[in-house]
């Protein structure tokens, strides 16, 4: 990194890192409770299976780096192979790896870079172009929380205790 150039602030990244660490601690607790023998279970024929949903929550953290480093993500150029954990440990390790990579990527993001445009496209077709901060906030962080919320229902339906998240659950953290 170049420390001799004009000092750039990274207050936005500092806030995002703090939040990501907090949320990831809770996410990890959920993933640790997803048993491998339930990876194929789903609550409805149109639902994602539990293993896929949990892996999706883990892999989404990996979207941070392309959001920070690149101006776009082009599905046409991607060779996406979903990670398929065989065990709960592999699932949790996948989360840890992606969270660490996300935090490293965030450390390099200056405040001004967050207001650059970022596009999601499939070759010629552009799905949307929005500032990087909106991508990180909505498509990465809130999107993770959304699917993690779904996963918490999957746990409940399988009688797996739901950890306290933003407040107590019916199983843990009663006030």
């Amino acid at each position: 990194m170049d420390s001799t150039s004009t000092a750039k602030t990274n207050n936005i990244a500092a806030g995002l890192i703090k939040e990501l660490e907090q949320e990831a601690a809770v996410t990890r607790k959920l993933l640790e409770r997803v048993p491998a023998e339930k990876f194929d279970w789903k609550p409805h024929e149109k639902s994602m299976p539990m293993g896929r949903l949990a892996t999706h929550v883990a892999e989404m953290h990996g979207w941070t780096k392309p959001t920070v480093d690149d101006p776009e993500l082009d599905f046409a150029k991607m060779d996406y192979k979903p990670f398929e954990p065989k065990t709960t440990e592999e699932l949790v390790a996948h989360l840890d790896k992606n969270v660490n990579e996300a935090i490293e990527a965030l450390k390099n993001a200056s405040d001004e870079a967050w207001f650059e445009d970022w596009s999601l496209r499939n070759g010629e077709q552009i799905y949307f172009t929005i500032p990087k901060i909106a991508v990180m906030r909505g498509m990465v962080l809130n999107h993770i929380v959304h699917h993690r919320g779904q996963l918490s229902v999957y746990l409940r339906l399988n009688d797996i205790p739901v950890p306290a998240m933003y407040g107590p659950s019916a199983d843990e953290g009663q006030m």
Partner: protein, 164 residues
């Protein structure tokens, strides 16, 4: 850019999918729950509808004290639920739009009389409330699916809508 500007934009965006989901919940399903330890559909949807209204007491006041009572939503119809959401959202937005940067450094407490549950800066409290809403709305999307109510596209396509 003021701190509130980012929040206002994000809350506006997130409200679109939230409202769409609430509009689809039939009153006949209000008492349904997927598990004995789950919230009912009405309880969960009412909470989701209520949460953006929390910005009012989080920004304009310095605490919420459960010991002083808190009125929970009790909609009778889908329209009641949506109207309640619209009213809460409008009130929360009003407070957000009037918040200057200094307000977000102030301290806020959630308490029940002498017991303090949570104490944080108003910045963290507002931030966590958005995440908290997204969390429960995610749960609500599973409730919809289980009742064969089409799940709207939220951050991307669902199995029912918005396929790319």
């Amino acid at each position: 850019m003021a701190i509130k500007d980012g929040f206002v934009k994000e809350v506006e965006q997130e409200s679109v999918a939230t409202r769409k989901m609430l509009e689809r919940i039939p009153a006949e399903s209000f008492d349904w729950k997927p598990h004995e330890r789950s919230m009912t559909m009405k309880g969960l949807a009412g909470l989701v509808a209520d949460m953006f209204g929390w910005f009012s007491f989080m920004i304009d006041q310095d605490e919420l004290d459960f010991a002083k009572g808190y009125e929970r939503p009790d909609p009778k119809t889908t329209q009641d639920l949506v109207n309640f959401f619209d009213k809460k959202l409008a009130a929360g937005m009003e407070s957000l739009k009037n918040a200057d940067d200094a307000v977000f450094s102030e301290n806020w407490k959630l308490r029940n009389g002498d017991t303090i549950y949570w104490e944080a800066s108003k910045l963290d409290v507002v931030r966590q409330t958005i995440n908290h809403m997204v969390h429960h709305r995610g749960q609500l999307s599973v409730f919809l699916r289980l009742k064969d109510i089409p799940v709207p596209a939220i951050y991307g396509p669902s199995a029912d809508e918005g396929q790319m």
